[in-house]
């Protein structure tokens, strides 16, 4: 050991730095920094990409003093269940303090990737003016800004390569944000504005595309009509990723003919999405693309009906990733199974979450895909019904699942054939898929399923539970068994104080725990907060009676706890009470 120590210290720091350069994953870098003090120091000062899974786990100032050379920052804000309206607005997750701190520290920020954060136009403006090398902005499921903020980015970020907006709520100010890209901007590689609701200046868009020879990824919003698409494709035949806007036209027209020609020239397209409005008679124009597609997202295209969808998919033999609506039906999934032998990831979204009178997909579709697609490792499946037998078959067919998320439209539906709980089915999944990292369960479930999860899901990092279990034992099985658990989110399940308090130290090994509409009492939350100071235990209380009352025995409606280095946050709104 002493020999090793002195040998490794013989390397000058530059060499260590160079070696560490090859480590791209933040987990590897974290591991490296734990080896010894000198490695920690070298690693800290050379780290350029920092990943912060919970923006309240650390303060911006502290981050910057630890990693002074940070150039790329990934931040996640609100808890995952905020996506489903379980977190009230104004909960938090603000970007501003981070930008502020980076400006003060004169950080050389180049890349910012945000998920579920809140940012204002002012913040975007500050960002745009403060970092001359800023290259890449990726916003996923964020809110609080308008197209004016985008205009500031367009106008001022001279080296901008990537502007990628995914599923954000952006207020449309009818400004000409696209026209704000100066003529000197020729560096764009990726532009995704599919989630914007308003009109865009088509002429400005076409000119922008024409002057950016490195553009490889372009996703348009619904306001870009087919004729504009045709002109754009004529200018950008090197695109690798395309998201169409509106795809409606007369197939007998000159424009449609030109589109077909333009598409023939786009031989590099590997990823296709959009079709936010579509006339099915126009779809044959994209058939030439299908044979080289590896990624296809038609989950925002309800206008493509089952038959056309199936016809399209029959051409897509190289597909690795497919996102669709459940209107595809079990039969359609059968076609996927027989055509897409390279498929790795499948997501089937509900066309009409509360719809009545159309049949969504069932266990048959899932079984078909598992049988036909041996490389399948990630699935998100919204379905009408499920059976244990089907899940057991799927587990046998696909032992390689890394992500397995099943959502039955009725959250407590039992096995459709036997009427039993779905415990055995999910049990088979966790036993067979030894590399499973993420799991969402649904349907009628008892404590038994959690026994299986605790026993077998050794690599599990994230677990989502809703309307499941019978007693504290369920949650205890999971907390005791899943050693690598990082995120646990539970709603409407009968887990209470005994489970919460059984192993309080466990929560310091996890990123966060969410529990809503469970059986946890205020008293237990207080105990936990007192015992483990490095946790923030937040109670979200939408009617203001809770703080005033002295009844610790009352049940807590929503609790979110997370480990943190910096104590209670100072930006919590009135309805969030940190214990």
């Amino acid at each position: 050991m002493c020999v090793f120590q002195s040998t490794i210290n013989y390397f000058p720091e530059e060499v260590l730095e160079h070696v560490f350069d090859f480590l791209s994953s933040h987990r590897d870098r974290n591991a490296v920094s734990l080896v010894c003090k000198s490695w920690c120091r070298v690693e800290r000062f050379s780290r350029e990409k920092v990943f912060v899974g919970n923006c309240y786990a650390v303060s911006p100032e502290r981050l910057l003093s630890t990693f002074p050379r940070v150039r790329s920052l990934t931040l996640k804000g609100k808890p995952h269940f905020a996506d489903f309206n379980l977190v009230p607005p104004d909960w938090g997750g603000y970007l501003h303090p981070w930008i502020d701190a980076m400006v003060k520290a004169r950080a050389n920020l180049e890349e910012l990737r945000l998920k579920r954060m809140v940012l204002s136009d002012d913040t975007l403006d500050l960002l745009a003016h403060s970092f001359p090398s800023f290259k890449s902005l990726v916003l996923v499921s964020c809110e609080g800004f308008t197209t004016d903020g985008l205009a500031a980015i367009a106008a001022n970020c001279r080296s901008l390569r990537e502007l990628d907006l995914q599923e954000n709520e952006v207020e449309d100010r009818r400004g000409q944000w696209l026209s704000c890209f100066p003529d000197s901007c020729t560096s764009l590689v990726s532009l995704n504005f599919a989630c914007l609701k308003g009109e865009v200046n088509l002429a400005a868009l076409e000119r922008l595309v024409a002057r950016c020879p490195n553009l490889r990824s372009l996703r348009l919003n619904h306001a870009v009509p087919l004729d504009a698409l045709q002109r754009i494709l004529a200018q950008a035949p090197h695109l690798v990723d395309l998201g169409t806007g509106s795809f409606v036209h007369d197939p007998d027209s000159e424009t449609y003919h030109k589109l077909k020609n333009a598409i023939q020239n786009c031989t590099s397209i590997r990823s296709l999405s959009g079709f936010l409005e579509v006339a099915s008679r126009c779809l044959p124009s994209i058939y030439p693309l299908c044979s080289s597609l590896t990624s296809l997202n038609l989950s925002y295209a309800p206008g493509i009906y089952s038959n056309e969808l199936v016809n399209l998919i029959r051409h897509c033999k190289k597909l690795e990733r497919l996102w669709i609506l459940d209107t595809i039906g079990d039969k359609g999934l059968g076609v996927v199974a027989s055509t897409c032998k390279e498929l790795q990831e499948l997501r089937v979204f509900p066309f009409d979450p509360h719809g009545v009178g159309y049949t969504a997909v069932t266990e048959e579709g899932l079984v078909a895909v598992s049988a036909g697609c041996p490389k399948l490792n990630s699935i998100l499946y919204f379905c009408q019904q499920m059976t244990n037998a089907a899940l057991i078959t799927v587990a046998k067919n696909c032992p390689n699942f890394i992500r397995f998320r099943l959502c039955t439209l009725n959250p407590t539906v039992p096995d459709a054939v036997t009427q039993l709980p779905l415990d055995e089915g999910f049990g088979a999944i966790v036993q067979s898929c030894k590399g499973l990292k993420r799991l969402s369960v649904s349907g009628l479930l008892t404590d038994q399923v959690f026994l299986y999860i605790g026993m077998y899901a050794e690599q599990l990092e994230m677990l989502s539970i809703a309307f499941a279990g019978e007693s504290d034992k369920g949650m205890l099985y999971v907390l005791n068994g899943c050693k690598k658990l990082k995120k646990l989110e539970i709603r409407d399940s009968p887990f209470g104080d005994v489970a919460l308090l059984a192993d309080m130290g466990k929560y310091e090994t996890m990123r966060s725990l969410w529990m809503s509409s469970c059986e946890v009492t205020l008293e237990a939350c207080k105990k936990l907060a007192m015992k483990i100071p490095r946790l923030n235990v937040e109670i979200i209380n939408e009617n203001e009676q809770m703080e005033a009352s002295t009844d610790d025995k009352q049940k807590v409606e929503k609790m979110y706890l997370y480990r943190t280095l910096v104590g209670p946050r100072k930006d919590a709104p009135a309805f969030v009470w940190t214990l």
């Binding site: 489903f84 309206n85 409606v248 009409d352 919204f382 009427q419 399940s493 509409s517 059986e519």
Partner: protein
């Protein structure tokens, strides 16, 4: 793997499964406020009767029972929910509102674009011309009494309604198909 507590489960299932925390004792939803996640919206029945898992043995004629809506379930991002709803509206704007029209006794159906008409009289006139029949004038009390035919339509919920009761725009957005009924059928009279 053992099958688990199957017998207990069947007993549990025999009792009413409802929207609520599993393991609670009461069978009636409590009168005080539900946990915020269980907002049960029902447009046809009072919420205390809503039974989430009961399969009502409707025969084909009744509309399927409306599903109780739980906040945040199914777990679909609100962006996606809003976008799909928005598109359903836009789809009909863009492509016209073509609906099938059948008439009792006619050998084949026709299709018309509801967007072309601005009000009921225009629509009825067009139907009269298309099918060479007389539909007459609507009155709230009597319907189309006195004429040979009554225009009806199937709405979003699958119910057959008399044309003319609701405001025009509401009719256009909820009409799925039209059927011109012979007056004798409309009154439920058989052949005499």
């Amino acid at each position: 793997m053992e099958m688990g507590k199957a017998a207990n489960y069947e007993n549990e299932l025999a009792t009413e499964l409802r929207l609520g925390l599993l393991g609670t004792d009461h069978h009636e939803p409590e009168k005080q406020s539900f946990p915020s996640s269980l907002v049960i919206k029902s447009n046809k029945r009072s919420s205390s009767e809503m039974d989430y898992n009961s399969s009502d043995k409707c025969d084909q004629d009744c509309a399927p029972p409306p599903k109780a809506q739980v906040v945040g379930w199914p777990p679909v991002r609100s962006y996606r929910r809003n976008a799909l709803q928005q598109q359903k509206k836009t789809e009909s704007d863009v492509s016209g509102m073509y609906v099938k029209v059948s008439m009792d006794g006619a050998p084949y159906l026709r299709k018309i674009d509801l967007r072309v008409y601005k009000n009921y009289p225009e629509l009825l006139k067009a139907l009269e011309v298309m099918f060479k029949c007389t539909i007459g004038v609507y009155s709230e009390r009597e319907g189309y009494n006195g004429s040979d035919y009554a225009p009806t339509y199937e709405d979003k919920d699958g119910d057959w309604m008399l044309v003319g009761d609701v405001p025009w725009n509401m009719f256009v957005s909820s009409c799925r198909r039209l059927r011109i009924m012979k007056e004798s059928e409309a009154k439920g009279l058989g052949c005499l």
